[in-house]
């Protein structure tokens, strides 16, 4: 500690003026002669800083931070809105799909019903027609057979008459022949 007591000029700081303090090599922070200068500078500097900080710096930072906060909140709100919209759209799509599906089902079953009824009706008419045709055909067959059977009797009678004439040379009475034919047919 002894080396600093002679004071600072030894270090070649000629600019350093000890004169106005008059304290020699005192401890600088306790040199009261410098206090007034420091206080004046400090007052000016600190007031200037306070004005700059309160008028310009802090409002500016605050506005930027607020703007960012608002932007984030706005974006989040917009995202939420879009999400809600897409949810609603999805829901609408699903209900629409369900409705369409049930409508398709209804149309399908209705069509099937209708077609079934039509097919049944057609089938019935066709059946009826076929039955009618069948009946007509049967009737015709019966008539034809009747006719054929009556022809057979005539032919048989003619043939029998011809055979008798050829054998005996006498044309038999037609009444007798037909009676004999009838008897033969019945037998």
């Amino acid at each position: 500690m002894a080396e600093k007591s002679p004071g600072t000029p030894a270090k070649g700081t000629g600019a350093h003026t000890e004169a106005d303090g008059g304290h020699g090599g005192g401890f600088p922070p306790f040199e009261s002669s410098t206090f007034a200068s420091q206080l004046v500078s400090l007052a000016i500097a600190f007031v200037a800083l306070y004005v700059i900080v309160s008028r310009f710096a802090l409002p500016r930072v605050e506005s930027v931070i607020d703007a960012r906060q608002n932007a984030i909140e706005g974006d989040l709100a917009a995202a939420q809105k879009f999400k809600d919209e897409s949810d609603a759209a999805l829901k609408a799509y699903e209900t629409e799909l369900a409705a369409a599906r049930s409508r398709a089902q209804a149309i399908g079953s209705e069509t099937r019903e209708k077609l079934n009824v039509a097919a049944e009706a057609e089938r019935r008419t066709l059946e009826d027609q076929l039955t009618a045709k069948l009946a007509a055909a049967e009737k015709q067959i019966a008539a034809t057979r009747e006719a054929a059977m009556s022809n057979v009797r005539g032919i048989a009678a003619d043939a029998a008459g011809a055979i008798v004439q050829r054998l005996t040379g006498v044309l038999p009475d037609s009444k007798t022949v037909s009676k004999a034919v009838d008897a033969s047919l019945k037998g």
Binding site: P29, V40, L42, F46, I52, L58, E62, V64, A67
Partner: protein, 251 residues
Amino acid sequence: MKIDPIHQFNIEPLFTIGHIGNQTIAFTNSSLYMFLSVAVISLLMIGGMAGRQLVPGRLQSIAEISYEFVASTIRSTAGAEGMKFFPLIFSLFMFICISNLIGIIPYTFTVSSHIIVTAALALLVFFTVLIYGLYKNGFKFFKIFVPSGVPIYILPLVMFIEILSFFLRPVSHSVRLFANMLAGHIALKVFAGFVAMLGVSLGAVGWIGGVLPLALTVALTALELLVAFLQAYVFAILTCIYLNDAIHPGH
């Protein structure tokens, strides 16, 4: 080779501004560093925010972090009402922090290594607390001297201690900052001086031996960086705590 760790604290008048009474008011090296700190803070806070970007760059991040840091300190210690002192506390914090950080650069001057500066700032806080506390709460402000739940027979003693501690606040507030900066810079200077002193007096061996104090100087510089910020923070948070008394008296 002489080590003069005190030389760095010399106030050197650069030019004279005027006179008050028989006192010469000079623009000193201290004044220069005060205004330099103000300029750096202004540059950081206004220049840094000039872009007003949504996604901040480096400088804007520093400005915003300082803002948020001081704001959250006030909110946590003095509540939302303390925010009306935001410009004051922010100015104090930034002024001390930036001038301390500038002071770590070799050949610069540390503004807060002078008791008169720290005392002025501490008294500014003290009178702000006192005047605002009386203005806002009237006589209820004196409840800070009367802690609730203290038995009546020791109340006078407690009140005496409370009043004494209240009036000693500016002392502890200013000396803490002043002493930290002073001691840190003296220690730095002493260890840095050892390097040169060993080299000059012992030659080559000394230069090699100087590695140790050099390493210590580096470590101390890192410590001083921390202290520079920490003392600014301590000063600001104590200001908040004192202001909290003025805002909410009666603990």
